[in-house]
Subunit: 471 residues, 2 copies
């Protein structure tokens, strides 16, 4: 039998797929998936299963239709099922006969819709066991992976644009949240490695996927959106190991009592008390965030900067008020912004005017120059009083050479001694583009002090996770 | 003597201004201010004071220069001083002689730069008292008011774009933070009434300005960025009264110990313990926020929606995961999302399919229609179980008629029975524009559940402030 890695890998990289429930009608789920697979430039064979269309010899988007799986000439590595729930067991039987190793069940109408749905799920699972089939879903979107050209998501790219190739992966229990995460990434120009919407997870679950991503060279950081965890012990054990290899970030919804009630209405699963989850994530070495925005703040930092070896943060700014707000934000995340030693202050003042306050924040004022930014960054990066720096150049200041400052920041970041994070105000299109450019050069740049502090806090937390003794 | 209202009003609406320190050189502060006054279409007379330029008969941007204030033919209602600190007392003497009633001292180099600066400030203040002059500053940007065509800010609009006319005013102790707030507003298409950067506030302070804005018909909501408050009792007394008329929102930086240290480096003033400020804001009926982003989330809600009469919030969504995250976010802000009564659920099910869960959130699922959104909103707005609603239409859902849903939301909001707030995912340009359109129609729309919940929490908090007994 194939290794579990090989099994899971086929969800992202199958040699051939069959879409059971392919539809001729634009707008239908069974049609959108074909469009998306074509748009993704899927390199393998696509078989479309639709008995009526096949009878009439129809093609859909130029692709031949078949009456059933057994009519397909070659082997099928991945079947995508999009027919009504009650017919899914029948389709599964065909998969068993055809020896299809992997199935994504997109269809809803299972556990989440009541006792009959639970029965259906059990039936499906039994068939899967008979045929050694790995299942993703049901009630899910499936997988998207731009590097391997697969996209089984029935959300049209015209309204849910897909991100480019990148180093962040995301696993989502909810399809709508997952889709939003992807369009958010697209709009923020954040690249994706692998996306999975796993829905009810009757077979392959978040634990299996984390296990797989731990060894995936294309994935640097992984996010999860969860409303419940069914196999808690397995999840924690896998995460404990995986989180030593690369960071995992979780949005666990249903944190509140009311939210827990909403989860049980939404997915039919029990959300459990939040404190138990908090303890589990802590034990598992998983970084927890509350919102999608916070996830990206954290993911961008972890995907690009080295973890911090401590929590003493230096702040360099050309706007005093922003220095103050950043120190407040650091305190909100339990980070320290220690007053610099007299020695270090003296060293800074060798090249900075005496009227600059350099206690931390190092306030370069409205008179800041690019050289002063470079000098201050290097001085703090070389000192043993500071574990990471937040740089706040107000690019809109007329006298500041924004291009030179950006270069100095990229150079400071490339030393990779300590994490470097940027906060600035995106007041114009040019400045927004400058900040995007910094991101592309590996420097996470944020629009608000609070968000930059969140990114830095994640680098500190992951540094702590790495320093924990392995059991 | 003029009333204090008339005195302060002249900072926004002078009949004539003199710029003392007008410069011929582009990029200089004394030049940018002329550019901005011209760009603002200031309707009154502008006198430029620059002895050297006057000697040579120079004009700047087509405006005549004068050797001194006394050479100006007509009266000067507002002088804007942008010369080095040490010459400011001299300029003030000329203002006294010329009987200029209002002065903005843009120049820095006073209290914030040490004991000599304090002495200079006292000298200036004494002269102001002699001439009954009201001073804004020093160490400030002055005022911007698009409706009265004044803009004394030396931040070029090319890098700090100005917002349009609107109903939000903002008072800032810090110039760089104030400028950022304005460009943020511009980018988010949020209109402004009046903006004031008051710097060291040796005369007119935040209390006076709040007093003025309380009666300003163009201002619906006011924000403040403060690092310290010098006259605390006066501030609280004014706010207590003013906050019953319209909402005031404060960002008080220097919340943390480290932030407090940074404040004293930045402005030379003592920030005090944060708990004292918290209690003062509470007593004053002021809504406190932590970040600029949070300020706008709150301001947009308060500027457009009626305050809530209680904290029971109903959530209507077409994406189950978003319902869960919204309920969590409401709990984070101590709001309630009560389970709807059996009666109300039954009423909802008269027009909604039975498989929709309507316990709260009302989950219209991916099958949601515009009619179902309209019906659910109206049912909750008419019920006495709910004090406000958050509507979450996922506009990217292919089957949903986004235009019809938007119309239904605007109609629900226009009833003004209870506050209505929208959360959606801005996945495409079209959806972002749709959300902007909702904002223009008076419906605050947010990109994340947490931010929508913050807006609603402010409406609840302001409702509580209004219900407090007047002393």
């Amino acid at each position: 039998m194939d290794s579990i890695e090989t099994q899971i890998d086929r969800f992202f990289n199958p040699k051939s797929v069959a879409i059971i429930g392919a539809s001729r009608r634009p707008g239908r789920i069974g049609h959108i998936i074909i469009e998306q697979m074509v748009a993704a430039k899927f390199p393998g064979r696509i078989y479309l299963i639709n008995p009526e269309a096949a009878k009439k010899g129809h093609h859909i988007l130029g692709i031949k239709t078949y009456g059933s799986l057994k009519d397909c000439g070659g082997p099928v590595e991945l079947a995508i099922i999009v027919i009504p729930a009650k017919y899914v067991p029948l389709a599964m039987k065909e998969c068993v006969e055809k020896k299809v190793p992997n199935v994504i069940i997109v269809s809803g109408g299972f556990r989440e819709s009541g006792p009959d749905g639970v029965k259906l799920e059990n039936e499906v699972l039994e068939l899967a066991n008979q045929g050694n089939i790995r299942i993703l879903g049901p009630n899910c979107l499936g997988t998207f992976s731009p590097s391997t050209h697969i996209d089984t998501l029935f959300l049209p790219a015209s309204t849910t644009p897909r991100p480019d190739i990148g180093r962040i992966s995301f696993l989502s229990q909810s399809g709508s949240v997952g889709g939003s995460v992807m369009s958010f990434a697209y709009n923020e120009k954040i690249g994706f490695s692998k996306f999975v919407s796993f829905g009810n997870a009757i077979d392959v679950d978040e634990g299996d996927l984390i296990d797989y991503l731990e060894d995936d060279e294309d994935t640097q950081v992984t996010g999860l959106y969860l409303e419940s965890i069914n196999r808690g012990r397995k999840f924690i054990e896998i995460c404990k190991r995986a989180s030593k290899i690369k960071p995992f970030i979780v949005i666990k919804a249903g944190r509140s009592e009311a939210g827990t009630r909403a989860v049980s209405s939404h997915t039919g699963s029990l959300a459990g008390t939040d404190r138990i989850y908090d303890a589990a994530f802590e034990a598992a070495g998983i970084i927890r965030v509350k919102t999608i925005g916070e996830f990206f703040d954290v993911a961008r930092a972890l995907a690009n900067q080295p973890p911090a070896k401590g929590k003493r943060i230096g702040v360099i700014t050309s706007g005093g008020g922003f220095g103050v707000m950043t120190l407040d934000a650091l305190a909100d995340y339990n980070l320290e912004a220690p007053e610099l030693s007299k020695d270090l202050q003296k060293r800074l003042h060798t090249k900075l005017p005496n009227f600059y306050s350099v206690r931390n924040p190092v306030d370069l004022t409205g008179s800041a120059t690019a050289e002063q930014f470079a000098f201050s960054m290097n001085t703090l990066l070389d000192s043993d009083e500071i574990d990471g720096i937040i740089v706040i150049p107000l690019f809109m200041t007329p006298l500041l050479d924004a291009e030179q400052v950006s270069q100095a920041i990229v150079e400071a970041s490339e030393q990779r001694k300590k994490p470097v994070v940027v906060v600035s105000v995106p007041s114009t299109k040019e400045i927004r583009e400058r900040m995007f450019k910094l991101r592309l050069a590996g420097v996470p740049s944020y629009h608000l002090p609070m968000r930059g502090a969140r990114g830095m806090a994640a680098l500190v937390e992951y540094g702590e996770i790495l320093q924990r003794p392995t059991e």
